[in-house]
Structures are given as structure tokens and as C-alpha cells.
């Protein structure tokens, strides 16, 4: 049973050809670009959602931070659509692979740190020491703040991977348990209900995207504007 649990997380190859590139590029098909003044239903809904999210997300940034609008919006769209598509049966979710999440987290975090160090060197270096610390504690606190800074990209990537993977695994397990218990009834009703509730909670994988972009955004904000 152990091996069959994790087979849904291997990168899919069809007859030896890795189709994982196709699967990563698939969500872009579902977001057509608006080409007219009045578009069709799908495009109008997506436009409205993107406007709503971008207004709420970029309201705390100053002019310099708002140049990152395109990056942040495409990030949230990509992660959101990828996670939601992974809830379909038999589908492969690229965000369960730690390699891909690290590839997203590390460059973005490095960008924010670089911007902070370049344009506001003194202010960004001053982040390492919170205000009002007693004098003997300073060296230790600098070390702790440095460690917490460098853990940020790792935390971003591992958080996303772990959440999505854990959710998928739970669905597999509980679904299998339900199927196995159909011969012994009246417990099945309870477990099927648990599956339903779990799936609904897992639909809040979108909330995870919010968490991802929000933490990235907080980091950007801190480094850039303060």
C-alpha cells in the first residue's frame, strides 16, 4: 500500500515521453486574454477577479512596489489554477514537487532582498536588529535574525509543497478507506462525510495561494518600502 500511495506524485511520463511540461503549461489555456471592449463570460469573470485581487493586494505598496504587480498577479493565478486543477481525479499537480516550488520561491525572495539592499542599504541592514534590544543580547539577535531571513525562501517553498501533498494524500487515504468499508456499512456514511468535508476544506487550497503570495508580498513590502 505504501508504494501505491505515492505513485500519483511521480512526474507523469507517457510511454517514456515526459508530458509534465504540457501539464504545467495547461492552465494558461484556461485564461484567454481580453481582446475586446466587452468580452465573453469567461473573460469578464476573470477580468473582474484579477482587478479585485490586484487592487486589494497592491494597495499597501508605494510606487516602487507596484511595479511588481504583473509578477504577483501572474504568480497567484498560476499557483491558484494549478492547485485547483490538481483536485480533478487522476490529475498531476506540479506544485507538489519541491523542485518547482523552490524554483519559484528562491528567485523571487532574492529579488526582494536585492532590491532592498540596493536602494535602501542602511534600512534593509537595520532589519537585523529590532528596536530596543538590550545591549548584551545584540550579537545573538543578529545571528537569529540572519537565520530567520535565510529561512524565508525555504519556508515559502516547503509550506506550499507540504500543504498540497498532505491534502492529496489524505484524500487518497480516506477515499481508499471508504471503499474498503463499504462491506461494513453505517460506518461508511460517516467516512464519506469526512471525505466531503475534507474536499471542501481542500478547495481552500486557493487560500494557500493567498498565503503564498501574501507572505511574498509582506517580504517585498518590508524590504522595499518600510
Amino acid at each position: 500500500m505504501n508504494e501505491s500511495l505515492f505513485t500519483s506524485f511521480i512526474t507523469p511520463t507517457m510511454m517514456g515521453i515526459p508530458i509534465v511540461v504540457l501539464i504545467i503549461m495547461f492552465p494558461s489555456i484556461l485564461f484567454p486574454s481580453p481582446s475586446r471592449l466587452v468580452n465573453n463570460r469567461l473573460v469578464s469573470i476573470q477580468q473582474w477577479l484579477v482587478r479585485l485581487t490586484s487592487k486589494q493586494m497592491l494597495s499597501i505598496h508605494n510606487h516602487k512596489g507596484q511595479t511588481w504587480a504583473l509578477m504577483l498577479m501572474s504568480l497567484i493565478l498560476f499557483i491558484g489554477s494549478t492547485n485547483l486543477l490538481g483536485l480533478l481525479p487522476h490529475s498531476f499537480t506540479p506544485t507538489t514537487q519541491l523542485s518547482m516550488n523552490l524554483g519559484m520561491a528562491i528567485p523571487l525572495w532574492t529579488g526582494t532582498v536585492a532590491i532592498g539592499l540596493r536602494y535602501k542599504t542602511k534600512a534593509s541592514l537595520a532589519h537585523f536588529l529590532p528596536q530596543g534590544t538590550p545591549f548584551p543580547l545584540i550579537p545573538m539577535l543578529v545571528i537569529i535574525e540572519t537565520i530567520s531571513l535565510f529561512i524565508q525562501p525555504m519556508a515559502l517553498a516547503v509550506r506550499l509543497t507540504a500543504n498540497i501533498t498532505a491534502g492529496h494524500l489524505l484524500i487518497h487515504l480516506i477515499g481508499g478507506a471508504t471503499l474498503a468499508l463499504t462491506s461494513i456499512s453505517t460506518i461508511t456514511a460517516l467516512i464519506t462525510f469526512t471525505i466531503l468535508v475534507l474536499l471542501t476544506i481542500l478547495e481552500f487550497a486557493v487560500a494557500l495561494i493567498q498565503a503564498y503570495v501574501f507572505t511574498l508580498l509582506v517580504s517585498l513590502y518590508l524590504h522595499d518600502n518600510t
Binding site: T13, I29, L30, N40, L85, L88, H90, S91
Partner: protein, 85 residues
């Protein structure tokens, strides 16, 4: 096999088999040309399958699900209903 209309301006479905190599060589392979070809193909697909009143994105997602069944088939063969596994 010469044709009345010059080969250059025909769409793919109208090109006869013997003229296919010359038709392929005729297409412009500049980045702008290939991007234009992808854009045209995408909009043909979109207008045919997504822009309709019934179906739309739901049909695309259903096709995606069926497409994803193929790599999983090998592992799912054990789960068929039979008396002895």
C-alpha cells in the same frame, strides 16, 4: 501536379499531398511568424470549443481528466472489479 491557385496562399487542408514539401518550406519560420501561427491556432481552438454556449471550459476540463487517465492506467489496472486479484 500543378494547381490553378498558387501553392503559397492555400490553407493546409487544401494543399495536395505532392505539394506538401514546398508548402512547408514556404511558411515563414521567423519568431514573429511562429508566434502568429500559435496565436491563430489558439484562437481557432478557443472559438470552436470554449466560446460556445453549452460546454466551454467544462468540456476542456473533462478532456483534460481523460487525458490524464492514460499515464495512470498502469497503476490503476489492479483496481478493476474481478474475483481474484
Amino acid at each position: 501536379m500543378a494547381s490553378v491557385v498558387p501553392v503559397k496562399e492555400k490553407k493546409l487542408m487544401d494543399v495536395k499531398l505532392g505539394e506538401l514539401p514546398s508548402w512547408i518550406l514556404m511558411r515563414d519560420f521567423t519568431p514573429k511568424g511562429t508566434a502568429g501561427a500559435f496565436q491563430r491556432g489558439y484562437y481557432r481552438y478557443h472559438n470552436k470549443y470554449v466560446n460556445e454556449k453549452r460546454g466551454g471550459v467544462a468540456m476542456v476540463l473533462a478532456a483534460y481528466m481523460l487525458f490524464n487517465y492514460c499515464p495512470c492506467y498502469k497503476e490503476l489496472k489492479h483496481q478493476r472489479l474481478c474475483k481474484y486479484h
